[in-house]
């Protein structure tokens, strides 16, 4: 119960309730779903945690660490709801310590990846709640 209250409080504080829970048409990553400030936060997490395997240019490694940019990345994730992406990231990444990033950090990292992929930022932050993220779809192109 307490947790629910805290969570709701967090949601309200982040202003997500107004943007994420309102009925609206299906959105894609091209609809301005994150902010530049959030991507900046994500960049810091990326260069602390993810860079070792995925590289400074997000190109991945030749041994299984997939690229996070370009056609292969787009092919891997095209059509996937962001909640599913974030769930997968949290469950298996970083590979040496899965499930150690918070949901907020995971969402932030995702926005950094979007920004490097030249997906434009918008005015509201990408929420961290999986069910809301699942209303936004990764599309390789507009």
């Amino acid at each position: 119960m307490n947790k629910a209250v805290i969570l709701l409080g967090g949601v309200l504080a982040a202003g997500v309730l107004n943007t994420g829970l309102r009925a609206q048409p299906p959105r894609t990553i091209w609809d301005g779903v994150y902010t530049e400030a959030q991507a900046k936060r994500g960049e810091a997490v990326y260069f602390n945690t993810c860079v070792r395997c995925h590289g400074p240019q997000l190109m991945g490694g030749n041994d299984g660490a997939g690229p996070l940019i370009g056609p292969t990345f787009n092919g891997n994730w095209n059509g996937v709801p962001l909640g599913q992406m974030v769930d997968r990231m949290r469950a298996t990444m970083p590979q040496d310590k899965p499930s150690t990033l918070t949901r907020q950090q995971t969402a932030d990292v995702l926005t950094y990846i979007l920004s490097v992929n030249k997906v434009p930022a918008g005015k509201t932050e990408l929420p961290r709640q999986v069910d809301i993220l699942n209303t936004i779809t990764f599309k390789a192109s507009k």
Partner: protein, 733 residues
């Protein structure tokens, strides 16, 4: 509706099991279906001939063959999902790499699943959960070098009603369960459990720690007669803290009692055959050489075939001068005693991570008019190695050829390596100019330009790793090692047409480079890496995902895994990984985001084992979206490329069936992957059905209630593990 009911029961079971902290069998409590009765005894023999699938590879001969013939070329496209089983709740988090191949015995399906590696029994007709077993291992499981839910389990019966399921936990225990109830068999080991870490050693025969000692396994037990065969697997060997880690071994245990019968040391001790191949007594300070993939057995001859992997470490062997038997060897031992009969070493003084990856295939063939008993082994090098399985003599000549010598300080090199005939190369194991990307002249030119940054010996299979440097040559070009050719899914053998079917990754080009690890990390002076790049710890897939590994935001069940050898924290910096990585136009071994090699990226091959020659090869898998939709390839007609991976297959009376390894979205299907069927005789694709995610384990087939089923595990990307059963629709539907 049925599915909803099943899931509810399942949730209850998991909850109840959590409370009980022990195996929970509920078969019969809620009215087990009539068809899920206990195996018939007396004359009953579980066999693919009877429509069962009683062993990981169908039988203990590695074949993956079943004579079932209800599903054919004509009706394959009519297959429907008969049932599905999601594995998320078998553990504290979902698993995204489900690698299990179930067994089916008399209408009951048994398999492992979930991040705790639970064991489940399902009604093979409906998919209804009959029982679930879980064995929480806490820190021991969290420390395991091989986590994930494993490849499956084994079945044993005394033929008189004592039927058992035997499996390995992530923490390297062997547990025997009553097949009817899922309850541990009290008379096996200690209350159903044998601690496999007991008797496992490092160094000069020092027992490893039972809690933190490094050993585990993904592959399944092999049960033959009353013997259970047990392999061994250590951490990934690319970046390790010491060369003196756990020593590999294969063992046999009594299936009734769990008592140890024999042990075979893959690193021979003084007085044992091959000890002298470890110069300077280096046997005493080196480890690994595990037996991590599936063993095979000729029950009639009483011979076991052990596929042995690389000794420590994968790419640097300066601490283990000599040929290092039985690293990267096939070893034939006596089933009754474990005594060596013969061996063949595929790579001397291993430096390329050419683990024996595949279950050996036991085959009776006719060569030059004479019946021959052979054993055939698919490999990462995409050679099929074929031997007389009694004597170990190669059936077709295997020639020792000179190979380039490397220049890594302190390394020891073998001047030659064995090469089977070209006719038995079914994938791609060298890189020549003709293998490079040629969609356009510009892409080809760019590939050649990029390769100037590497040590590249076109046409050579074994170019040793070098000390790569971001300011100079980045590494040595190889293909058909690490993830090339055929990996753990292995191949299969069709006894009717005496043909080996095997899938091979033909695009796993790598840059072999070693560099000094960070100070204090290891007693090995060179490890996987490039001078000037940030050091990176390489771990097995699934590491850190075991159910009892703490998760942020949840109650920690156990302490974090022991930090022995944890690498220094990543430096906040942006250097490195410019040369060896993927690269979307930025260099390395991809060109504009495309493989530096031209298609095919993988092939399904058929090899005539009477003749020792490839019969046909066909690219397997839809062209990846990244290629089909690539901006530079718009308007180009690109034939199907196949997908870069090694996947497993099942062989039936007329078909070879295997799934795709990647998601694609095409004009003919939404985002997902296809399960494809090929004509055994011609390699022509005869059917394909849609799966919501890629195949992540070898499929299997069985007969239940008059219907043939194909079950395959799918997972990957955002899709967590699920078993899916396909069958033909009922008539009139």
């Amino acid at each position: 509706m049925k599915r909803a009911t099943s899931r509810s029961a399942f949730v209850f079971l998991v909850f109840a099991a959590a409370v009980a902290s022990a195996a929970l069998g509920v078969s019969g409590q809620s009215g087990a279906p009539a068809r899920a009765t206990a195996p018939v005894h007396g004359t009953f023999v579980a066999s693919t001939k009877n429509g069962d699938w009683p062993s990981y590879t169908g039988d203990t001969r590695g074949t993956r063959y079943s004579p079932l013939d209800q599903i054919t070329a004509e009706n394959f496209n009519d297959l429907e999902v008969a049932w599905r089983f999601k594995t998320d709740s078998l553990g504290t988090r979902a698993e995204y790499k489900l690698e299990g191949t179930p067994l089916v015995i008399k209408g009951v399906l048994y398999t492992t699943a979930g991040t705790r590696r639970s064991v489940i029994a399902l009604d093979a007709v409906t998919g209804e959960l009959l029982w679930v077993h879980r064995y929480p291992e806490g820190a021991r499981g969290a420390n395991a070098p091989r986590q994930l839910s494993g490849r499956g389990l084994a079945y044993w019966t005394d033929g008189r009603g004592d039927d058992r399921i035997i499996y390995f936990t992530p923490g390297y225990r062997m547990i025997a369960l009553d097949a009817k109830t899922g309850q541990p068999v009290k008379s096996f080991g200690k209350d159903g459990v044998v601690d496999l870490k007991v008797g496992v050693v490092f160094g000069n025969n020092q027992q490893i720690d039972l809690e933190t000692g490094e050993i585990g396994i993904h592959s399944t037990p092999v049960v033959v007669k009353n013997v259970v065969l047990v392999g061994s697997s250590m951490k990934e060997g690319m970046t390790v803290t010491t060369h003196n880690n756990t020593k590999g071994l294969a063992r046999a245990f009594d299936a009734r009692t769990g008592k140890l019968l024999w042990t075979f040391n893959t690193i021979p001790r003084p007085g044992e055959f091959g000890n002298e191949t470890w110069l300077d007594n280096s046997w005493a300070i080196n480890g690994n050489a595990g037996v991590w993939t599936q063993m095979s057995v000729d029950e009639e001859l009483g011979l076991v075939y052990l596929p042995v992997e690389t000794p420590t470490s994968d790419f640097y062997g300066g601490k283990r001068p000599g040929n290092n038997l039985f690293g990267e060897s096939l070893v034939c031992v006596d089933l009754a005693t474990g005594k060596r009969k013969w061996h063949f070493q595929f790579v001397h003084h291993p430096l390329w991570n050419d683990d024996m990856s595949s279950a050996p295939l036991i085959a009776d063939v006719t060569i030059d008019g004479k019946p021959r008993k052979v054993v055939a082994v698919p490999s990462k090098q995409a050679w099929l190695w074929v031997f007389d399985r009694v004597t170990g003599e190669p059936i077709w000549p295997i020639v020792e050829k000179p190979v380039p010598k490397g220049d890594v300080p302190g390394e020891w090199y073998s001047p030659t390596q064995p090469h089977p005939p070209d006719a038995l190369m079914y994938g791609r194991n060298t890189v020549t100019k003709d293998d490079l990307i040629d969609f356009t002249p510009e892409l080809h030119a760019q590939a050649l330009k990029q390769l100037e940054r590497y040590r590249w010996n076109p046409g050579v299979v074994y170019t040793p790793p070098m000390v790569g440097n971001v300011s100079g040559l980045l590494g040595a070009i190889n293909i058909g090692h690490i993830n090339g050719g055929t990996n753990w899914p292995g191949g299969g053998y069709d006894p009717e047409t005496r043909t080996v079917f095997v899938h091979a990754n033909t695009s796993s080009v790598t840059s072999g480079s070693v560099a000094p690890p960070p100070p204090g990390f290891s007693d090995i002076p060179y490890q996987d890496g490039v001078v000037g790049e940030q050091f990176r710890l390489r771990q097995a897939a699934g590491t850190g995902t075991y159910a009892d590994v703490p998760q942020r935001g949840r109650g920690a069940a156990v302490p974090a895994p022991a930090g022995r050898g944890a690498p220094p924290a990543a430096e906040a910096g942006r250097g490195g990984q410019q040369g060896r990585g993927g690269g979307e136009g930025g260099g390395g071994l991809t060109v504009q985001g495309l493989s530096i090699l031209k298609p095919p990226y993988s092939v399904l091959a058929a090899i005539d084992l009477d003749k020792g020659a490839v019969k046909w090869r066909t690219p397997h898998g839809e062209t990846p979206d990244a290629v089909r939709n690539h901006a530079l390839l718009k308007g180009k007609d690109i034939p199907r490329t196949g997908q870069p991976a090694s996947v497993g297959l099942v062989i039936t009376k007329t078909l070879v069936v295997l799934g795709e390894s990647q998601f694609t979205t095409t004009d003919t299907h939404p985002r997902g992957a296809m399960l494809r069927a090929y004509d055994k005789a011609t390699g022509k694709e005869v059917g394909a059905v849609f799966m919501p995610a890629p195949q992540s384990a070898s499929p299997m087939t069985y007969m239940a209630n008059g219907k043939q089923y194909i079950v395959v595990a799918v997972s990957g990307g955002p899709y967590s593990g699920e078993y899916i059963a396909f069958a033909l629709p009922n008539e009139g539907q």
